[in-house]
């Protein structure tokens, strides 16, 4: 017995050693801290056998500091039981970060224990009061929750003029498209679906199965202009956003032509993606076809799900990633001249993503080496997919692509540790530095399953520099601000942005990995208002508060 015990100990030690060696090679380690952090969440898709299309798609998550205590809190969106099939009451969940690695469920206290069929979330301080407000996209009526600043939220949907508008909304984001200092709201809609208009789809002619999006008419995205008085005006039609053929799931903010005006990239399912180029006059023009991002390189409209935009090659130009269906690679685009070029096949991302169905995705510098890596939450929509495609499962491992710095990525999920690569029916994905150790932790939601919080710990001693940017003339969240840092042989840029990924929102502060550098030469911030500010010789290993036109203040830690 003793021998057996020591043997099992030995093998555990060996596996630990192997794990450590692998992690050491990566320079970071993930630890699943969901339970120890006190996050006990179970997504409810409402599935009872009715096979309603929305059941397969939810839900999202967000990192936000709703109480401005400097610690990133967590918001998890939830679905609900369908009318006539009520079994339990499920609501979205707000987890307050206690600052010690644990969270407290404050949903009820915050007034968010509202039963709704939630899909996605967009966090933004639309009234510039300093406290982040929450838009929850829903099947049915979307909800806008205004942050009172006292730890509670008030549903202002109707008062804000967003009521009486039912749809099948998915991702959403806040951005200031007219640069008037007020955050406007963009909402994606998937298809024209309602309980009443549900279509019977079947694989065998007898049993109902989930329909593909082709079965339903598309639905236009919405653009709401912030009047500045707490109300919004629907400018969908007048802004050129209206498109009744779209089946949108993801949206990302970018400045595609680097004219200082925010543009939008919308990932559409089975329809061409849209690149809404800001015309500087309150209107947009779709330039996705001419930019080469509407279709796959074979000219096919793929099943776009999640989307993120970032300067992943440190060229200063935005790069794009769009997750697609299984048997369709992730689209990884780099600006080449005036149009995008899909480099997925040669980058290592394409082949690795062929057999997975990607949803949430984010560019983030996981190992703080100065190159943006790429994380993807995968999971199929069809529980029986393995019967049809043997090498594709319903639950699928998330993927983590480390950026090699030369346009190539290496998938390292299996080495990241603590079950990160265990198959999940992944949907939402967001990042945030919840433990304020300077690196980015990952939050993943699953369909009809739990959420996962992975703490990221650096093993190689890499450090970062973080910026909390606050607009004064610009919108207070400084969404749309460009932050660039310059250091010895290094140049990186980030856009302060909401949205991206799928149904989710990552934290607003921007994080730059600087390897082991003590200082950076300078940081340049281009505010949405048009102002540019530059600060020199900043120590790394901490966070800074940058307030528009007021200077930069270092925090004593991250």
């Amino acid at each position: 017995m003793a021998g057996l015990a020591s043997w099992s100990q030995l093998s555990r030690l060996q596996s630990f050693a192997a794990q450590s060696a692998a992690n050491n090679a990566l320079g970071f380690r993930f630890t699943d801290v969901t339970s120890q952090a006190g996050i006990h969440f179970q997504h409810n898709s409402g599935a009872f056998g009715g096979k309603f299309l929305p059941e397969t798609l939810g839900s999202g998550c967000a990192f936000l500091d709703y109480d401005r205590d400097g610690w990133q809190d967590i918001l998890l969106i939830n679905g609900s039981d369908w009318p006539g099939h009520k079994k339990s009451r499920t609501t979205l969940r707000l987890y307050h970060n206690n600052g010690n690695g644990t969270f407290t469920d404050v949903t009820a206290r915050a007034g968010l224990d509202v039963e709704l069929y939630g899909m996605g979330v967009a966090v933004g301080d639309y009234n510039n009061d300093g406290y982040p407000d929450i838009l929850v996209t829903c099947v049915g009526q979307n909800r806008l929750f205004r942050n009172t600043g006292k730890g509670t939220f008030v549903d202002v949907t109707n008062a804000a003029g967003l009521g009486k508008r039912e749809g099948f909304s998915t991702s959403a984001l806040w951005f200031d498209y007219d640069r008037d200092g007020l955050l406007d709201l963009f909402v994606c809609n998937y298809v024209k679906w309602s309980l009443e208009a549900d279509i019977f789809c079947s694989l065998d002619g007898k049993h109902k199965s989930y329909c593909t999006p082709e079965a339903y008419r598309g639905a236009t995205c919405w653009l709401f202009h912030n009047r500045g008085n707490g109300t919004f005006e629907d400018v969908t039609a007048t802004s050129g956003i209206f498109d009744s053929s779209s089946k949108s799931l993801g949206v990302a903010l970018l400045d595609e032509n680097r004219d200082g005006w925010p543009d939008l990239l919308v990932a559409n399912d089975t329809q061409p993606n849209k690149l809404y180029r800001n015309q500087h006059n309150g209107t947009f023009k779709d330039a996705a076809v001419e930019a080469g991002i509407a279709f796959s390189s074979e000219g096919k409209a793929r099943a776009g799900m999640g989307v993120d935009v970032a300067d992943f090659d440190n060229s200063g130009a935005p790069g794009v990633a769009i997750t697609n269906f299984d048997n369709e690679m992730i689209g990884l685009y780099r600006l080449s001249g005036k149009s995008f070029e899909d480099i997925a096949p040669q980058s290592g991302v394409g082949i690795a993503s062929r057999n997975s169905l990607g949803f949430g995705c984010s560019f983030l510098d996981i190992d703080l080496d100065g190159w943006l890596d790429f994380a993807v939450a995968n999971g199929h929509i069809d529980e029986t997919v393995r019967n049809i495609r043997g090498n594709v499962g319903y639950a699928q491992p998330p993927q983590l692509f480390l950026n090699g710095g030369k346009g190539t990525f290496r998938e390292v999920a299996a080495e990241a540790g603590d079950g990160f690569d265990h198959p999940k029916v992944g949907r939402g994905l967001a990042y945030g530095d919840f433990d304020r150790d300077g690196d980015l932790d990952l939050l993943i939601t699953t369909n009809n399953g739990p959420a996962y919080l992975y703490r990221n710990d650096q093993l190689a001693g890499n450090r970062s520099i973080r910026f909390h940017v606050v607009g004064t003339k610009s919108n207070r969240d400084a969404i749309g601000a460009s932050v660039r840092i310059f250091g010895a042989g290094m140049e990186q840029s980030r856009l302060v942005k909401g949205g991206s990924s799928y149904l989710s929102q990552s934290e607003l502060p921007v994080t730059f990995g600087v390897e082991k550098r003590d200082r950076i030469d300078r940081v340049v911030i281009d505010w949405p208002s048009g102002q540019t500010e530059e600060y020199k010789n900043l120590a790394t290993g901490r966070a800074y508060d940058c307030t528009e036109a007021k200077g930069i203040v270092p925090r004593d830690r991250y």
Binding site: G218, D234, F242, S245, V289
Partner: protein, 490 residues
């Protein structure tokens, strides 16, 4: 003495009679059915080159034909099939745009969006841009297969459709939503449907074209296959003909070679028999005629000597002449014996060798160990001559070339064969190509004349030297004379 001999020769009737084979007319070289090669078939090279040229031509022609067919196929593929496919893709794109328009129009008519009809203008504009692009590309691909009327119909229909769209949006812009919707239902949707039908028809036409092209491709493949078989057969035939002509030429060449070899052998045998009969004749003449004359002279001189007074100078002179005559007689007899040992004819091979070997031992100073084995049988005269000559040549070679001081000669009378072995332990002569004199050839020819076998080897027992081994079948050795090969009979 010389003049005396000369005179005798001139007068002796035996010298006047024909001397057998020597005087016989030599037959022409190609007398025995071997025709001289005509200029045309003197060499097979021309035929072979011709065959090669034909084969090459066939291969070249075949390659050219295949290249031509493949080029045609490629042309068909790129110009027709690919073009058709590209056209179909553009038609599908057009169809897709038309469907998008149909869906958009349905949305516009259904009024379930809280937006005015003008909201759709951007969407229509996007579709229009794509449709125009698709139409432009499609027109380029479809030029070959479409009639001008069809193209004109498509273009004008699209133009009319967009004109109608513009009118609808103009109405919507003026706030006449109801009228605009009516226009959509009454005009736009119909036009869209008509366009969609036309495009569908073009797609069907393309599919038919593709099928036809497919059939043509299959036909080309069939034709190529047939031609491949034909060319393959032709090439094989050319190779076969070439091969046959090569075989024919080879056979002719070998036949000629065999004939030449036969002639050569015949000549050699004739040479040998001529030489042998000549030598025999001279030997007989010397022995019989000159011997008798010299004996007679000797008797006369002896008789004359008795008449001369004893102690007279005449008697002494006669005695001197008598001795000279006697010496001449000995030399003549010796020469006669050397030219052709009469013993062979009279006492046989065995006795001749018994006499010859000590003689040659004396002459050359080589020690010869002579051994006889088996029960001797009578060796025919002609065969005996050949065996004797072979031994003579072998020993001559030993004396001349080997430098050996000892030779062993063994004559074996076996049940089936007569064997002669001459073995020296000298330098050997078989190796050097320069030594291939007439001697060895003559030895071989002689052995072949007897139906025997002559093997000259360099023994590997360490002593070196040369071993000449002659084997003659017993019946040949015994009965050679009975056949028409006899040297003497000629």
């Amino acid at each position: 003495m010389a003049s005396l001999l000369q005179q005798h020769c001139h007068t002796h009737p035996a010298l006047l009679r024909p001397i057998g084979p020597v005087t016989r007319a030599i037959p022409p070289l190609y007398a025995r059915g071997v025709s001289r090669p005509s200029p045309s078939d003197r060499s097979p090279t021309i035929g072979l080159v011709l065959g090669l040229v034909i084969t090459f031509s066939a291969v070249l022609a075949y390659s050219a034909y295949i290249t031509w067919q493949v080029t045609g196929l490629r042309k068909l593929q790129t110009e027709l099939v690919d073009r058709n496919r590209k056209d179909s893709l553009q038609l599908l794109r057009i169809q897709n745009d038309l469907n998008l328009l149909a869906v958009a129009m349905r949305d516009m008519v259904s009024s379930d969006e809280p937006y005015p009809l003008t909201a759709w203008s951007a969407q229509f504009q996007r579709i229009r841009t794509d449709l125009d692009d698709a139409m432009r590309l499609e027109a380029g691909f479809a030029a070959a297969s479409r009639t001008p009327e069809q193209s004109a119909f498509l273009t004008s229909s699209v133009t009319q459709f967009w004109d109608a769209v513009d009118r609808v949006f103009a109405l919507a812009h003026d706030g006449q939503e109801k009228e605009a919707r009516k226009q959509i239902q009454n005009s736009l949707q119909e036009r869209q449907a008509a366009l969609s039908t036309a495009v569908a028809r073009f797609l069907v036409q393309n599919t038919e074209n593709e099928e036809q092209a497919g059939q043509r491709i299959v036909q080309i493949y069939d034709r190529v296959q047939r031609q491949v078989y034909f060319f393959l057969a032709a090439t094989l035939l050319a190779i076969l003909l070439n091969g046959l002509s090569l075989i024919r030429w080879n056979r002719r060449l070998f036949a000629r070679l065999a004939e030449i070899s036969e002639r050569r052998s015949e000549l050699a045998q004739k040479l040998i028999s001529t030489q042998e009969s000549t030598l025999r004749y001279i030997s007989r003449e010397l022995h019989d005629e000159f011997g008798q004359i010299l004996t007679a002279i000797g008797s006369m001189l002896r008789r004359a000597g008795t008449h001369a007074p004893e102690g007279s100078s005449l008697r002494a002179d006669l005695q001197e002449v008598l001795e000279t005559v006697q010496s001449t007689l000995d030399k003549v007899r010796s020469l006669s014996q050397a030219l052709h040992p009469v013993m062979l004819d009279e006492a046989g091979l065995e006795s001749t060798l018994d006499w010859y070997i000590p003689t040659i031992e004396r002459q050359t100073g080589i020690t010869i160990s002579y051994e006889k084995q088996g029960k001797p049988f009578l060796v025919d005269g002609a065969a005996g001559v050949h065996v004797y000559r072979i031994l003579q040549e072998a020993l001559n070679n030993v004396a001349r070339h080997s430098g050996a001081k000892q030779v062993s000669v063994r004559l074996r009378f076996l049940a089936q064969t007569l064997e002669l072995e001459v073995r020296d332990r000298g330098a050997g002569f078989a190796e050097s190509p320069n030594r291939r004199g007439i001697g060895l050839v003559a030895m071989r020819e002689r052995s072949e004349l007897m139906g025997g076998q002559l093997v000259v080897t360099r023994p590997t027992d360490g002593d070196g030297g040369t071993l000449v081994h002659l084997t003659v079948p017993r019946e040949k050795a015994e009965s050679y004379a009975k056949e028409d090969h006899s040297v003497t009979s000629r």
